[in-house]
């Protein structure tokens, strides 16, 4: 029996077979040709994999026990924990969808070496979901305000932010399996998870959440192998020149969509969930996305025919403003949230202005006005200040006010005689080229058109155990929290901004 890792890996790959008693019919056909041989740079073997993952789990769960002994949940900046109520279930959704993705890939990709890598990845994704559920269990039992943590996934999937998450993450397993790999392994896991799972832990530490930092860094250690799965698959399909146009189209499409969906939530978490900010999101984006992913990886694939995304420059410009606008929208619709928003204070203004010159003139008046509306005795909410609710983009599901309200790129797009909202030129391009993937999606506002806001909140179930007090609040440490009766007194009717555009 060979003892060397390289020999063992070669031997393991030889245990392959083809179906002889039935036709293999993957759920989604692929337009790519796939050679039988591929490369797994990690040479993953199940035996070694289990040893490594057991060590990771021992370390991560051991640290969580240490956090309990040291009472660390109480030392976390409350603002940081509140936004985690939405971002952690969002990430959990990504893991669930990635599990499904690996199943589809394993059954579709006729390449034994790559299958080995994706088998380990599937187990990884389950591990990640379990770690994140462990973290949520820790927070629901030990965070100062557990309301919202107890609803988790159910709350997310009803919230507009959840639709952003679903809209992006379902691409992991829906459609051509190689397109799915380009989205999941190449775009999300090689580029964007670095922002979320490596850079964000530094923000967590700065705000007292060492549990999150430890869990995320451990999760990302698995993502490293997933990057290699993406690399191995990409190099395999690039060996056939007929695949190159498909690769470039998938890179363009999924880079844009991932930028919208992931930057919105990661930028929001990192800058508006923090009281102490170790870095500015736009600078981290330049480092991890532009310098490392594009310059250090994608550009080096140019001799194989790969092109960097044409909309890279636009995406880089977007992250100067979009996370601030997302925070503005999230605060404006605070009654519809399952976490407490926080006000921005002079110390926040100073940091934002320093990092993003011009921030104060664009966003300062909003936050000044916002602070005047936090007391329920005032009987006014920011939604009442709006001339209309913002439509949600049919592709990325983000509000069509990006990158910022006064520079928004909203457009109505005619597809098959029906009009759809798009937030940007990039999303319009995606919608026009892959209409069947997006036109069926229903919008949040359409679901509740004509409803009283209090009834919407009741329907969503975002109410605390007393049956009266809302989970969402416009500030931390209010003398009295808002109740469902406070909202009902406003007589605010939700109006779908797209109602009637298609004669409905």
């Amino acid at each position: 029996m060979p003892k060397n890792l390289i020999d063992l890996h070669e031997k393991a790959k030889s245990y392959d077979w083809q179906f002889t008693y039935a036709e293999q019919e993957p759920k989604f056909a692929s337009k790519y040709t796939m050679p039988k041989k591929g490369k797994d740079p990690f040479r993953t073997l199940v035996r070694d994999y289990m040893k490594m993952e057991a060590e990771k789990d021992d370390r991560t769960h051991g640290f969580l026990d240490g956090c309990l002994r040291m009472g660390m949940a109480e030392q976390v900046e409350p603002r940081f924990l509140e936004i985690l109520k939405v971002t952690l279930p969002d990430i959990n959704n990504a893991e669930f969808q990635a599990v499904a993705a690996c199943g589809g890939i394993i059954s579709s990709v006729q390449n034994q070496e790559l299958r080995h890598g994706y088998l380990a990845q599937m187990l990884d994704e389950i591990r990640h979901a379990q770690i994140q559920l462990g973290l949520r269990h820790y927070y629901v039992k030990h965070a100062l305000d557990p309301a919202g943590w107890d609803l988790g996934q159910k709350a997310l999937y009803q919230h507009p932010g959840g639709l952003v998450s679903i809209g992006e993450m379902y691409h992991f397993h829906t459609g051509d399996p190689i397109d799915c790999i380009i989205d999941l392994n190449v775009i999300i896991e090689t580029a964007f998870t670095n922002m979320l799972l490596v850079a964000t832990p530094q923000v967590a530490v700065a705000n007292g959440d060492h549990a999150l930092a430890t869990a995320f860094l451990s999760i990302q250690s698995d993502e490293s192998r997933h990057m290699a799965n993406g690399y191995g698959t990409l190099m395999a399909v690039l060996s056939d020149p007929s695949n190159i146009p498909h690769v470039n189209a998938a890179l363009e499409r999924h880079f844009w969509h991932a930028h919208k969906a992931v930057d919105a939530i990661t930028g929001f978490q990192a800058e508006y969930g923090a009281r102490r900010r170790p870095w500015a999101y736009k600078n981290q984006w330049q480092e991890w996305i532009v310098d490392d992913f594009i310059s250090g990886y994608i550009r080096r694939l140019e001799p194989f025919g790969v092109k960097p995304p044409e909309r890279l420059r636009q995406a880089a410009e977007d992250v100067t403003w979009m996370q601030h606008t997302i925070a503005q929208v999230m605060a404006t619709v605070w009654p519809l949230n399952f976490w407490r928003s926080d006000t921005m204070e002079p110390g926040d203004y100073e940091w934002f202005e320093q990092q993003y010159p011009g921030w104060t003139s664009v966003y300062g008046p909003f936050w000044d006005r916002y602070r005047t509306m936090i007391d329920p005795a005032g009987g006014h909410i920011p939604m009442q200040d709006l001339p209309a609710l913002p439509p949600f983009c049919q592709v990325c599901q983000l509000p069509c006010v990006l990158p910022r309200l006064d520079q928004n790129q909203f457009r109505l797009v005619d597809v098959g005689g029906k009009k759809y909202a798009a937030c940007s030129e990039g999303c319009e391009w995606v919608l026009r080229n892959w209409p069947g993937c997006y036109t069926h999606r229903r919008q949040f506002w359409a679901r509740y058109h004509g409803w009283d806001l209090a009834d919407v909140i009741s329907d969503l179930g975002y109410i605390r155990p007393d049956g009266q007090t809302l989970i969402g609040q416009p500030a931390l440490n209010l003398k009295r929290m808002w109740t469902i009766e406070d909202i009902r007194k406003l007589q605010y009717e939700v109006k779908d901004p797209l109602h009637g555009v298609n004669g409905d």
């Binding site: 670095n194 490596v198 930092a213 430890t214 860094l217 990302q220 490293s224 190099m235 990886y297 880089a316």
Partner: protein, 98 residues
């Protein structure tokens, strides 16, 4: 004429979460690859170098004071860019993409 927002580069990089193994790896790199850029980021280190990063696990184990194999080294690796090659006792990250 506009400048290229992301020209190709020949550096490689790795992110190692803060740990005893990582501290030993950094000690090893400071001796064997003094041109590597090592950036401490509270809970992890980001290490970058032109063309190549090599981690000899026996040499790192000597500094750590206990055995260290590939799997245990990878427990600490949160991310990388470049082309990684995992071999018995050695992890390398290469700028050459194929």
């Amino acid at each position: 004429m506009t400048t290229d927002p992301a020209p190709a580069k020949n550096t490689v990089g790795i992110s190692l979460m803060a740990s005893a193994e990582t501290e030993a790896a950094i000690e090893y790199l400071r001796e064997t690859a003094p041109d590597a850029t090592i950036s401490a980021r509270d809970c992890f280190y980001k290490i970058e170098r032109p063309e190549l990063l090599v981690f000899d696990l026996d040499a790192i184990a000597e500094r750590l004071g206990r055995p260290l194999d590939t799997d245990m080294f990878l427990v600490n690796m949160s991310s990388y860019y470049g082309r990684i090659i995992v071999e018995p006792g050695k992890v390398g990250i290469h700028a050459e993409i194929y």
